[in-house]
């Protein structure tokens, strides 16, 4: 197991390098100049900056060098865990990401937890009640949810559940109340939950469909196995058959999905954080792309890729945990 993990970790290095090369190339080759003070976003242009100033600024930030030289410089800095400084405000990229990552992670992991919590039982229920009314209803609802785009749902929730004209149940923006720092721990926690309820909802509902379908399919397949018939034949209660014999075997494919869910949630964070004004890493990455803030784009991509690679590794390891037949010991697999 240990050699396997080490091997996987070593493999991550070339993978990560590959990802960064592609990202670096795409972001630098995409059209659009770094809009240093070129105009504000309202469309009123106040930019009267001379070509000379732009060139000087490009030189200052190595943008005049060939792209492979820029990349090499970037890698050399990365080895020292230096992601550079943002073009936008000159602050270290690592600091910008560090202050925004926790909130995105909180959202993603909460959403992931809820997705599993709801989708797996739902899938199992659908499988054990295949083609019955409850299966059809839950399938229908889940597909309806799946087809609603999250930016639309987020806007609807903002308009109808966050006050102004209609229901005033949730806050409109941010992750905590202005006076959160003066609250006791319980109040603070509840305030957080109150602020994050709608964003988490937007993260969660779409992933339900895929996962519950996998859970359902996995369960159905297991239920057709001989050993399930045997278990039933020897007179075990249906509960025990499902929960003890079938369930553990049916969740193997679901565990693998864990690795893929994290990047999906990270990319969803771009939209959801923008709409709910959440100071997370998705909004940071989105703004960086719009501003051609290359150091931040690269930092965002590298951290996102690292997290994804670890997510995949963890789900592979979990395989061995849930399925004793799978082993990563060399020679025995």
């Amino acid at each position: 197991m240990r050699t396997y993990i080490i091997k996987r970790l070593l493999l991550m290095i070339p993978t990560l390098l590959g990802i960064t090369i592609v990202t670096f190339a795409i972001s630098h080759l995409a059209p659009g100049e770094v809009p240093i003070m070129a105009g504000d976003k309202t469309g009123r242009l106040r930019g009267r900056i001379t070509k000379e100033q732009i060139e000087r600024w490009r030189r200052l930030n190595d943008l005049d060098k060939p792209i492979h030289v820029q990349y090499w410089k970037w890698v050399k800095r990365l080895v020292r865990l230096d992601f550079g400084t943002s073009f936008k405000d000159g602050r270290p990229v690592i600091k910008k990401i560090a202050e925004r990552l926790p909130i995105t992670m909180t959202l993603s992991f909460t959403a992931m937890f809820l997705v599993y919590l709801i989708a797996v039982p739902l899938g199992v229920h659908s499988a054990t009640h295949q083609y019955q009314l409850s299966d059809r209803i839950s399938t229908f609802i889940i597909f309806v949810l799946y087809s609603l785009p999250s930016f639309w749902v987020a806007h609807m929730l903002l308009t109808y559940a966050c006050g102004g004209e209609y229901l005033n149940l949730f806050p409109l923006a941010g992750v905590s109340s202005p006076d959160a720092s003066e609250m006791g721990p319980l109040r603070w926690f509840l305030d957080r939950v109150w602020h994050l309820a709608l964003p988490v909802l937007c993260y969660t509902y779409r992933s339900l469909a895929g996962l519950s379908r996998y859970a359902r399919a996995g369960m159905l397949e297991v239920l057709r196995q001989d050993y399930i018939r045997t278990a039933r034949a020897k007179g075990l209660a249906e509960r025990v058959v499902i929960m003890k014999h079938a369930f553990r075997n049916s969740i193997i494919p679901i565990v693998t999905l864990l690795g893929g869910l994290l990047p999906a949630l990270l990319s969803a964070s771009v939209i959801v954080e923008q709409i709910f004004s959440i100071p997370g890493i998705g909004r940071l990455g989105f703004e960086a792309v719009l501003n051609r803030d290359y150091p931040v784009i690269m930092g965002f991509a590298t951290i996102g890729a690292t997290l994804t690679l670890f997510g995949i590794l963890i789900s592979d390891l979990l395989y061995a945990v849930v399925d004793p037949r799978i082993s990563y010991e060399s020679g025995k697999a």
Binding site: P31, G32, E33, P35, I36, M37, A38, D40, K41, G43, R44, L45, G47, R48, I49, T50, K51, Q53, R56, W57, L60, K88, D89, G90, R91, K96, E99, R100, L114, L117, I118, L158, T159, C162, G163, E165, N168, P171, L172, A173, G174, S177, P178, D179, E182, R187, L190, D191, V193, W194, A197, M243, E273, Q274, I275, F276, S277, P279, R283, L284
Partner: protein, 554 residues
């Protein structure tokens, strides 16, 4: 399975509980705290290179200028300088600085700080600033004594005084005498700049808010509000809803909101809407170097095809004043005797026929032989963001006249590059203008030859060049008026742009605020004059809609 149900129940209970508690939470919101919201976060609050509108509105309360311009009368009033002298030849500007003014860290403000600031803009090439081209002809800044500075200009420039007076000094010691890149990226001063103004930056929570707190040691009048908070809310819809919930005190309105979302009785009971002239205007720029738009008759024909009244009524909801030139229509520089070119497709077709743009091959698109080649009147219109509605209207109108216009959407940063390099056939943009405007960067032919510039239409006209240069050296405002009028007439004759509208500044504010006024000149408001009344003393009899008129021509 039972565990799962329990967890679900707990989560649901948590959500309901948090909602109930949150809803009834009394958020600390004293009367003397003022809330604004902005869509984007400024990059920096460094006073020399903050160009974000929201950030700038905060910064103006923290740092001060040598003199302050009255937003309504446009007169200059003492600020950090108590008085000033201008030499008769308009080359020397001497400012006498207020004594005893302290930076917010306790040090005394002196002439040396003015010099430090001036040097960053003028002789420190690595400092990022857009102001440099304006100062080009300013030769030196001399410190005569601790409280006197003198700016020397190489040649007279009618905006020289404005530039000197508008200079907002930064503190040399707070910046640690930094230069170049270290000045741009000075971590502390970029986040919590040290000023002399009525407020100081208490904190900047990245991506959340900037909080200003009143500077109790301020040399001047103490403003009413103790704290001013700028919230960053990335979603425009949410900003407006925050306003309706009373969590933001004042908000800008788009025409659609003014007309459709703010007219209810319950809205008017709680808020007041204000409309005032705005310095913003927009236009369609024709690239005068492209084959189609070289001839001014073609450009006039294009203007004939733009139904500005229809566009105003549909897209702008009836707001906006149709302009005929790049001058502030409520100032004396604008010649109102010039009538806008009317919407007249027949006149346009006649003009196009005259210039040889005729549909020879019957394919529905006009064409012309140019240098032995048949060229179709088929051009590209570049847009970014919200202008696509306008583009669609134009496209249809041009099609009927035998002109094919293709619309190309570009992302903002790509669009800007194309715009400044004038890599487009036609496009539409907004700009802003004030009562005194220097047309050099936008209309002088030397700018048409620059690699990047704001002469969007590549306009070249010898008489206009001469007028622009003459306006720059004419210090008497009255003498500038006829020059501006002649320039305006050339713009109308040449039609390098199809000028569209001078917009309106639309705002709404909470009735708890009093003494609120909005002005056309940037930044449009002076919140140090605003006050608030306790929520139980709100006067609901004040009119719900206010229209500020402004006419400097009278």
């Amino acid at each position: 399975m039972r565990v799962v149900y329990i967890v679900i129940a707990v989560v649901a209970a948590l959500a309901v509980g948090a909602t109930l508690i949150g809803k009834h939470a009394k958020i600390g919101r004293p009367d003397d705290w003022l809330y604004f919201a902005a869509g984007g976060e400024p990059e920096t609050l460094n006073p020399i290179n903050c160009y974000d509108a929201g950030g700038d509105s905060m910064l103006r309360l923290v740092v001060e200028q040598l003199a302050k311009r009255d937003l309504w009368t446009h007169e200059w009033k003492p600020a950090l300088a108590t008085r000033w002298e201008v030499s008769d030849d308009g080359l020397l500007y001497t400012f006498h600085l207020r004594r005893g003014v302290r930076w917010q860290d306790g040090r005394l403000f002196t002439a040396d700080d003015v010099l430090y600031t001036w040097e960053r803009i003028n002789v420190d090439p690595d400092v990022r600033t857009m102001a440099r081209p304006d100062w080009e002809d300013c030769e030196t800044c001399e410190v005569l004594d601790d409280h006197t500075v003198r700016f020397r200009w190489k040649k007279p420039y009618f905006l020289a005084f404005n530039l000197c007076a508008r200079l907002n000094p930064v503190s040399r010691h707070a910046f640690g005498n930094a230069t170049g890149k270290a000045f741009n990226n000075h971590q502390e001063q970029s986040r919590t700049p040290t000023g002399t103004g009525p407020y100081r930056v208490e904190r900047w929570d990245t991506a959340r808010r900037i909080v200003l707190v009143r500077n109790e040691d301020y040399w001047g009048d103490r403003p009413y509000f103790k704290r001013i908070i700028l919230l960053f809310v990335s979603e425009g819809q949410a900003v407006f809803q925050l306003f309706k919930k009373g969590e933001v005190d004042s908000v800008g309105l788009e025409p659609v909101r003014w007309v459709k979302q703010t007219g209810t009785e319950s809205f008017e009971r709680r808020f007041i809407k204000v409309r005032s002239p705005s310095c913003g205007y927009n236009f369609i720029a024709w690239n005068n170097d492209r084959v189609w738009f070289r001839d001014k008759r073609v450009r006039r024909a294009m203007t004939h095809l733009v139904d500005r009244e229809l566009i105003r009524d549909t897209i702008e909801f009836g707001f906006g004043y149709i302009i005929t030139g790049p001058l502030f229509p409520w100032s004396r520089a604008y010649d109102r005797s010039i009538e806008p070119i009317p919407y007249d497709p027949e006149a346009a077709k006649r003009l196009l026929d005259q210039t040889g743009w005729i549909d020879h091959d019957g394919d529905g698109v006009r064409d012309k032989m140019i240098d032995g080649e048949r060229v179709d009147f088929d051009f590209e219109f570049k847009v970014s963001g919200t202008e696509s509605e306008l583009a669609t209207i134009l496209q249809e109108e041009f099609r009927k006249a035998g002109i094919r216009m293709r619309i190309r959407h570009l992302e903002w940063s790509v669009y800007l590059t194309h715009l400044f390099e004038r890599n487009f056939d036609a496009t539409t943009v907004g700009e802003s203008m004030g009562p005194d405007v220097d047309h050099y960067l936008m209309w002088h032919s030397s700018m048409a030859d620059a690699e990047t510039s704001a002469n969007y239409s590549n306009f070249r006209n010898a008489e206009a060049d001469a007028l622009i240069e003459q306006i720059r050296v004419t210090l008497d405002p009255d003498e500038r008026i006829p020059l501006y009028h002649r320039f305006h007439a050339i713009m109308h004759e040449e039609q390098p742009f199809t000028f569209l509208f001078s917009g309106e500044n639309m705002q709404a504010y909470n009735r708890r605020l009093v003494n609120v006024r909005f002005a056309p000149a940037y930044p449009g408001r002076d919140v140090t004059q605003w006050r608030a009344v306790p929520r139980d003393q709100i006067d609901s009899s004040r009119p719900a809609v206010v229209v500020h008129e402004l006419d400097l021509q009278e």
